[in-house]
């Protein structure tokens, strides 16, 4: 190839500017989320960030975000999973049958549900990874199968309510050890603690990078990014603390987010998934067991879809045959808005999470504004298209 001249971009601008340009995608995503939030905050006269609404926002999007974590891995590995919505609904139905009809305790029921999710993922993953059937087809089949099974399991009726302990999964809040009534101090302190831990971790990573002479984020950016991010998190936890505190599901979500971010960006498994999606043949010839890896991304997706199904069922306090309908679209859209590539190998966990929040905030904001469900769909579709267009444009430049 002749035109592969080293594109060492000239010493245009300062180092900060240069770094910003290189990482435009990540900062850009975060900025657009903030911009969208500010926009709706203003448009709704401050309703968006009211503690009650904020709590709702978290609860409404928790299951989408949980599934987006798994979907991101599937997409990065070069596949797609269309069945997550149906699996979500099916597991919710299973949970209802076990806990309501058979009166199981919620712990064994939850475990059984997660195992069933893993088995569903394993079955689909086996066809995709070892039998080499395109994931689109396998999971399209799965989508129909599990939608039907959910219907069969519930006999076409809603089943509920769930035992109260199980409802706490979605509607519960972490207990306040200080017994505060106006301000849940525990929640606030937890938020502050998390922010401090994150900053310390980031600082250590940065130190390690510098130790080995890597190019690091310029100090200005590092400090301001962490400051802004930290302040937002503290502010959000303060807001939530003035209502009922941090929702249980937020804690689950946050732990999963951090764990998946770590796995994808820092571990060998994560690296191998990116290599698998980037160039499967090259990955295999580098000694990576590509089939097993693809299989496990589907198993993982199954477990997360099951967890999301439980969270969703607990939130509604009933399992309905229509639960999970269309979730797969929101989940996949979140990943692509977050910068994942449909051809695999590209995408970040934090991107998918931000993508999910972009969708969530828009859903919530537009509902408050009284925009009909019809135009909400149109706007969401256009936003998805626009986000991917910006990606493609940036890549071409």
């Amino acid at each position: 190839m002749e035109q592969t001249i080293d594109n060492t971009s000239g010493a245009a601008g300062t180092r900060t500017g240069h770094f910003l340009k290189q990482n435009l995608r990540e900062y850009g995503m975060l900025l657009s989320l903030v911009a969208i939030m500010v926009f709706f905050q203003v448009m709704t006269d401050g309703t968006l960030l009211q503690p009650l609404n904020l709590t709702n926002l978290v609860l409404q999007n928790s299951y989408i975000i949980i599934m987006a974590l798994g979907m991101l891995l599937v997409i990065v590995a070069g596949h797609i999973d269309l069945s997550v919505g149906s699996v979500c609904g099916f597991v919710g139905a299973l949970a209802a049958v076990l806990m309501v009809n058979y009166e199981w305790h919620f712990v064994p029921a939850t475990i059984v549900c997660l195992v069933v999710g893993a088995l569903i993922g394993a079955a689909q993953g086996w066809f995709v990874a070892y039998f080499h059937i395109p994931s689109f087809i396998v999971t399209l089949a799965g989508m129909l199968v599990f939608k039907g099974l959910a219907l069969a399991l519930l006999n076409g009726q809603s089943v509920g309510p769930f035992p109260e302990t199980f409802q706490k999964l979605s509607s519960g809040f972490i207990p306040d050890v200080f017994g505060g009534t106006d301000l849940r101090l525990t929640s606030l302190l937890l938020g502050v603690l998390v922010v401090l831990t994150m900053v310390v971790m980031a600082w250590r990573v940065r130190g390690n990078q510098q130790l080995h002479g890597m190019e690091t984020e310029p100090m200005v950016l590092f400090a301001s990014r962490n400051a802004v991010f930290g302040m937002i998190l503290v502010a959000l936890s303060w807001l939530l603390a003035t209502y009922k505190g941090l929702p249980n599901v937020l804690i689950i979500m946050f732990v999963l987010m951090v764990a998946y971010d770590f796995v994808t960006s820092r571990t060998t498994i994560g690296r191998r998934i990116y290599a698998l999606g980037g160039n499967e043949k090259a990955a295999r010839l580098s000694g990576i067991r590509t089939e097993r890896l693809a299989f496990y991304t589907f198993v993982n997706m199954g477990v997360l879809a099951a967890l999301a199904g439980l969270v969703f069922a607990a939130r509604l306090n009933t399992a309905t045959p229509k639960a999970g309908l269309g979730f797969e679209l929101d989940v996949i859209a979140a990943c692509f808005i977050g910068g994942a590539s449909a051809s695999g190998g590209v995408g970040k966990v934090m991107g998918a999470v931000i993508g999910a929040f972009v969708m969530g905030v828009m859903n919530n904001g537009m509902s408050i504004l009284g925009i009909g469900i019809d135009y909400q769909q149109v706007i969401k579709g256009l936003v998805l298209l626009a986000a991917v267009c910006v990606d493609v444009y940036n890549k071409k430049k």
């Binding site: 002749e2 001249i5 080293d6 190019e215 290599a275 160039n279 990955a283 010839l285 000694g287 190998g345």
Partner: protein
């Protein structure tokens, strides 16, 4: 020049301020074969893209005169109308369509949108006869070899009334006999008055057919050598061309080595491999092979002889079925049934197809470097990014990989530098036996020398090297011992001293009859 069919004057082209071409001149006479040579990145392809209208008129500076008039092509369509046809290195054929369909793709023999297949097939037969390809027009492209596909491309060009044919590295992926056939065809076309611009790295071929050679370096014309007096002066000397290409005297094209050969390290006994789809076809037929410590063993042969298949079947059974035979390392039988096991036993395989099999193109140099040996930069499955960076940087320096930094995606690197990244990946896995499959394919002369030097150094460090190559001079220049492979068998073996191109060729031809 009055008889010039094409005269490009003072062509200048810049990409975002980076000069790709600076005041380049190229003049092609009617009915001549004009070779354009230069290292990778010298600007050959860019020049051809200017000529064919890929970069339309105002995007470049200078003047193009073609058939006696100044031309300003605004797209590839304009240049094709006037009979300038370019055949790219990566062939532009649709694999699952027939030869006839491909030849008339975009130019269908149709009335009111309905294709006249009888006419199309008749015309295709005529064209195929012209290029000397004995295939049915209904044969699918995917069912014929690269050599024949190349001929189909030329037939397609002929169907468009070509006057100036541009071939970009046409023989890069062809074996010797297909290359020769192609060059014969070019001479044949020349006798019909079709001019040809030939871009190639293979200087011996150029010396054989070219009437003129233009050498580009760093985006400028260095010289144009007239070879028409070939019969009087003899063919243009390769050394002269190479000197002009690299701008320096190249005393040796291969590094000097003093082999220190030790005990036998790697052994293959009665290795048999069958085709993955046509399972009754034996692709490797009972091969025995030994490689000693510090030794470079070459495998010569034509394309399709089974060399890559042999290497890949040993390397984690990544090719073939019903594989049998024994692999031994340091005298002990080893299991190489998966890539992971092969790597663990110290075998590394550097593929001939670095883009689709060797690299994750969109990923960074650092990530590609550590991919085959992530354990070397991680603890308990957690990657130490700092260590990874240090490792990648270390290999970057040792291999003199030219890049902006190890975080640069490998897709932007030149062929030679990409090959260095693949080598770095396998060197980091610290192999005892390094299998190199066409290690210098598509790499320019300067970078080739660097790769050779590196290979020599690795042998000196005591590694065993198995080198597969279709370029005989390269094998002769580097190897201590050369096996000749033909149709799945080793048909001859030569020591470095006694081997010659003629002997190798003779061994192949004799085995074939």
């Amino acid at each position: 020049m009055d008889d010039a069919i094409l005269d490009m004057r003072g062509i200048t082209k810049r990409f975002h301020g980076v000069t790709a071409l600076e005041n380049v001149n190229l003049s092609v006479r009617a009915g001549e074969i004009h070779a354009v040579v230069g290292e990778n990145g010298a600007g050959k392809s860019t020049l051809m893209k200017v000529l064919s209208g890929v970069y339309p008129h105002p995007e470049y500076g200078g003047e193009i005169r073609y058939l006696g008039q100044e031309r300003r092509f605004s797209g590839i369509h304009d240049s094709e109308q006037l009979g300038i046809i370019i055949i790219h290195q990566e062939l532009a054929l649709v694999p699952l369509l027939s030869i006839a369909e491909n030849i008339f793709l975009g130019n269908e023999q149709a009335k009111h949108g309905v294709i006249d297949w009888t006419l199309a097939h008749r015309k295709t037969r005529e064209l195929l006869a012209k290029v000397g390809l004995k295939e049915s027009p209904a044969t699918l492209i995917t069912d014929i070899g690269v050599g024949k596909q190349q001929l189909v491309e030329i037939a397609k060009a002929l169907s468009k009334e070509v006057k100036l044919l541009i071939l970009d590295e046409p023989t890069a992926s062809l074996n010797e006999s297909d290359s020769d056939a192609l060059l014969e065809l070019l001479l044949e076309l020349k006798s019909h008055g079709i001019a040809c611009i030939l871009i190639s790295h293979k200087l011996n071929e150029i010396a054989k057919v070219a009437d003129a050679i233009t050498v580009l370096r760093d985006g400028s014309t260095i010289t144009t050598i007239d070879c028409r007096d070939r019969d009087v002066n003899g063919p243009a000397s390769e050394d002269l061309i190479i000197r002009a290409m690299v701008g320096r005297e190249m005393a040796d094209r291969y590094p000097k080595r003093t082999p220190k050969i030790g005990e036998t390290v790697f052994e293959l006994r009665d290795w048999r491999v069958f085709h993955p789809i046509h399972t009754e076809r034996e692709v490797v037929k009972g091969v025995n092979l030994t490689v000693r410590k510090g030794e470079i063993v070459g495998i010569a042969g034509l394309m399709g002889a089974g060399r890559t298949e042999l290497a890949m079947s040993v390397f984690g059974r990544t090719y073939g079925r019903r594989i049998s035979g024994t692999v031994r390392m340091h005298g002990r039988d080893i299991d190489t049934s998966t890539v992971g096991k092969a790597v663990a036993h110290g075998i590394a395989y550097v593929t001939e197809d670095r883009k689709s099999l060797g690299l994750v193109l969109d990923d960074s140099i650092a990530h590609n470097t550590t991919l085959a040996h992530l354990d070397g930069v991680s603890r308990h499955g957690v990657i130490d990014e700092g260590r990874e960076f240090a490792v990648a940087n270390d290999y970057r320096q040792r291999l003199a990989t030219r890049c902006a930094g190890v975080h640069q995606p490998v897709v932007n690197l030149s062929g030679g530098n990409q090959q260095k990244v693949v080598l770095a990946k396998w060197l980091f896995a610290d192999p005892t036996l390094l299998i190199l499959d066409e290690p210098t394919r598509g790499i320019d002369v300067g970078a080739k020398f660097e790769i050779y030097t590196l290979i020599a150094r690795l042998a000196e460090e005591g590694r065993s090297i198995l080198m597969i190559s279709s370029e005989m001079p390269e094998l002769l220049g580097m190897c201590d011992r050369i096996h000749v492979m033909n149709e799945g068998e080793f048909v001859a073996e030569f020591d470095a001293g006694e081997a010659s191109q003629e002997k190798i060729m003779r061994a192949i031809v004799k085995a074939g009859t």
